[in-house]
Symmetry: C2
Subunit: 191 residues, 2 copies
Amino acid sequence: MSKTETRKDEIIKVSAKLFKEKGYSAITMRDIAKAMNIKAASLYNHIKSKQDLLKIIIISIAEEFTIRMQEISSSESTSIEKLQKIISLHIDIAYHYPYRMGVLNNDWMHLEEELEYYLELRNSYEDNFRSIVESGIESGEMIDTNTEIIVFSILSTLRSLYLWIPKKEALKPEELTKNLTQVLISGIQND
Amino acid sequence: MSKTETRKDEIIKVSAKLFKEKGYSAITMRDIAKAMNIKAASLYNHIKSKQDLLKIIIISIAEEFTIRMQEISSSESTSIEKLQKIISLHIDIAYHYPYRMGVLNNDWMHLEEELEYYLELRNSYEDNFRSIVESGIESGEMIDTNTEIIVFSILSTLRSLYLWIPKKEALKPEELTKNLTQVLISGIQND
DNA sequence: GTCTATAAGCAGATAGAC
DNA sequence: GTCTATCTGCTTATAGAC
């Protein structure tokens, strides 16, 4: 990342925030321009198209998830430890890019040329996640229930973090990681 | 519910499916008409406006959630039992109205006149949920961790069920209820 | 209940001046 | 780098024929 924020970076930041709030389709180039106090035509001096904005916002973050998941997957750890690292990964990204996370979750289907590539990234991510859970069940670290339910349940929570993190400014990332790990892995019931 | 499905019911059903797939803003009246093999103008013989469709889809299901949550909240049960009933409630609605659930989750912000009412329903629902968890912690049934994290984590999973239920036709609702309850309440780690 | 025709406005994007 | 002016096509919705 360069030290100075370019005009293009600023446009991407503002767009991500607006897309997250109302969705890609509901936001117009005039909305983005207005939020930056310029005219819509001026945006095209910095970006190619509205679709170009969506691509930049989604693909960068999807690639980061996939790469870091690959690192976790191939690390020397127990399955439970890998799960803890996945939780940390999601919390880290949600803290840094809450708006992009929202766009990734809700507007990926509006990608045009990059849709197929995005789906490959997502499949790679989910396959790694599934393998980790399967290994955990085989090794006896995790309960022997339906793998898909475990993957679905944990991923649903992690993918929704972007909605929740900006609201609770009181909770530090370390605190959140600790508590969420406990809830997701050990459950909420007292023995 | 009447026995015969009216043309209006059919329009609502088709709209919910399309809205769920691409979002309210991305779907045009022409898209809905085309999916029904009629012209867009004909839709207006049955419904007032596009916004009217959104209102019907979202408010009906939001009211059902709030009413049934109220019943659970005021029932004579332990907190853990109430949580099990909430899980069943979400699975039940997600099985019956997967498309509406998607629209409720992702397009509520496009409600116009009914937005405030929707937010009241949602707040009522979440307040009841929070109270149940707080009671569970006080009574010692649940671990004494951050209430908001427990509420957020479970609700995130339950609200995403609509994405997942149509995919796994093999899993019966009873089976899903049993497994999901175990994962959400007891966790996934073996002792 | 569906159609054609059309109104009135808004969308993304470009050209060219400054 | 931003502006004004503008093109072209699409949007929701209505009027009125059948």
